[in-house]
């Protein structure tokens, strides 16, 4: 086992452990913090794939901004109820293996192709910002813009729905 493998396994196992802890920790804020930690390990995996920019953005956007917002909401709602780790929900517990099986079925074809993927050119991910961003603004410009429009519509929808009704 090379050092690369060792680091990969460390990050992967730590990531999975954090994921499990997110689910079973009795406290909502603690769950959020484990999620932050798991984003770090995920960023570590990106670095192993030479995707430095992606790793940075992962930490900056998810851990640095989105999770702060999550914690803000959790703290604002002040959710103090201590939960059992499977939330007392037997049906949910039974559904979990099904969900895992479905995910495995979806991922299996990708894993089978991993040899072919390793041979594919990876320069899109690697190194500089230009390499990552050029496809976004050339080849994938239309999907990106459409996504932006959908997000804008969703934002406006949230504002409209969240607005307090005017008292007559």
């Amino acid at each position: 086992m090379t050092a690369y493998d060792a680091i990969f396994w460390f990050f992967s196992l730590a990531l999975l452990l954090c994921g499990v802890l997110v689910l079973i920790s009795p406290n909502a804020v603690a769950s959020g913090l484990y999620l932050v930690l798991s984003f770090f390990f995920l960023a570590g995996l990106y670095v192993l794939l030479q995707a430095f920019f992606l790793a940075m953005i992962q930490v900056l956007v998810y851990a640095g901004a989105i999770m702060v917002l999550f914690l803000f909401v959790i703290m604002l709602l002040d959710y103090r109820e201590s939960r059992h780790w499977w939330h007392g929900n037997l049906l949910g517990l039974a559904g979990a293996p099904l969900a895992v099986a479905a995910l495995a079925a979806a991922l299996l074809p990708v894993l089978k192709r991993s040899g072919a993927l390793a041979a594919a050119p990876e320069q899109w991910f690697e190194g500089t910002l230009e390499n990552v961003m050029t496809p976004v603004f050339t080849r994938y410009l239309l999907p990106v813009e459409i996504t932006a429009l959908i997000l804008l519509a969703a934002t406006i929808g949230v504002v409209v729905l969240g607005r307090k009704e005017k008292q007559p």
Binding site: N27, V29, A30, L33, V36, F52, F53, M56, I57, V59, L60, A63, G64, A65, V68, L69, L71, F72, M75, L76, G127, T128, L129
Partner: protein, 344 residues
């Protein structure tokens, strides 16, 4: 010969790590000192002048006092997070310090510890974590005032982080780089960015006040409303770490401002506007950087003792209704100007 180069490289790394530790643990206490002196001067008082020569030993006396105080962990707190929180405030400042180009080069040694390609992204990814310290401290204290401080801090940080990013986009468009060293070199060649992007500099400065929780944006503490906010339950060295962390973050903010807008280690005339070729120019570059940082730090302190705190709704209004549109406008203007010039 090759081995020699490797050994020297390691020695240089060691020197730079040492420099960062010295800056943080020896100079940051003197920033506290400076704060007290400037505050006294503005309020027409004398200020601390008894301990040691002109009161210069005062920070060490304070540190010793904090060391010797009893370290109380109240019974009702979430212990792990309670202990973790002060470290999380302090650590990001220390980490970001590693990315600051505090000089061009001293002989064969370059003056930045970690010259990472997209350094700016790393600075913000790491810098965003100081909020976790405050939020965690507020939550884990498990008492009302700290909790309010933590919630306020989270909301404030989210609002102003957006604006920081957007105000810097204009800079990146102009310099075409995310690297701090390259940004300084660009300014050494083309003039300071504060003259070319005054709006971005102004927005960034305001956001830095908010980001470091300094007056007029010191809502997480807000003595008059929240007693002392997120750090009420802390004592002894844990409180000391919060205190040190605030000033370390302030120093990092000043360094960032100097690096991005005030030309870093450069001065706009001959031997100082290019990387040093002889050692004394290199030493002068370090001195220039330190002097500029000191000026910005003075500005931080000056504002704190001059401007009263905003109201909370004013803070949110300022962030989203004034600074955010201005930052977008600045990007638009920069894009138009760069387009008319035919690219940068």
């Amino acid at each position: 010969m090759h081995l020699d180069a490797v050994i020297w490289e390691w020695i240089f790394v060691g020197i730079r790590i040492l420099a960062i530790f010295v800056i943080t643990f020896a100079i940051v206490p003197y920033t506290v000192m400076a704060e007290r002196w400037v505050c006294a001067w503005i309020q027409d008082r004398i200020g601390p002048n008894r301990t040691g020569w002109f009161g210069l030993m005062q920070p060490w006396a304070d540190a010793l006092k904090l060391f010797l105080k009893e370290d109380i962990i109240p019974n009702h707190v979430h212990k792990v997070y309670f202990v973790l929180a002060p470290t999380l405030v302090f650590l990001p400042a220390l980490l970001t310090m590693a990315l600051m180009p505090w000089g061009s080069n001293l002989g064969p040694m370059s003056c930045v510890l970690a010259d990472i390609g997209p350094g700016m992204l790393v600075v913000f990814a790491v810098g965003a974590f100081s909020v976790y310290g405050i939020v965690l401290a507020g939550w884990s204290s498990n008492s009302k005032f700290p909790f309010l401080g933590g919630v306020r801090s989270a909301a404030q940080l989210i609002s102003y982080e957006v604006c920081i990013g957007l105000s810097l986009v204009a800079i990146f468009m102009q310099t075409q780089t995310l690297n701090l060293t390259q940004t300084v070199l660009y300014q050494a060649a083309n003039g300071w960015l504060v003259w070319q992007q005054p709006l971005a500099a102004f927005l960034f400065l305001i956001c830095m006040f908010a980001e470091t929780n300094r007056a007029p944006f010191d809502f997480p503490e807000a003595e008059q409303e929240l007693v002392s906010g997120y750090n009420i339950e802390y004592s002894s060295l844990k409180f000391g770490l919060f205190f040190l962390g605030e000033y370390a973050n302030m120093m990092v903010a000043s360094m960032l401002l100097v690096t991005l807008f005030f030309g870093g280690w450069s001065l706009p005339f001959a031997p100082f506007n290019a990387p040093a070729l002889v050692w004394w120019v290199g030493a002068a570059h370090v001195a220039i950087f330190v002097a500029k940082t000191a000026c910005i730090l003075f500005l931080f302190i000056w504002v704190r003792w001059t401007v009263p705190r905003l109201r909370y709704d004013q803070l949110m209004g300022l962030g989203w209704k004034v600074l955010f549109p201005l930052a977008l406008l600045n990007i638009l203007i920069t894009a138009i100007v760069l387009g008319l010039r035919g690219g940068a």
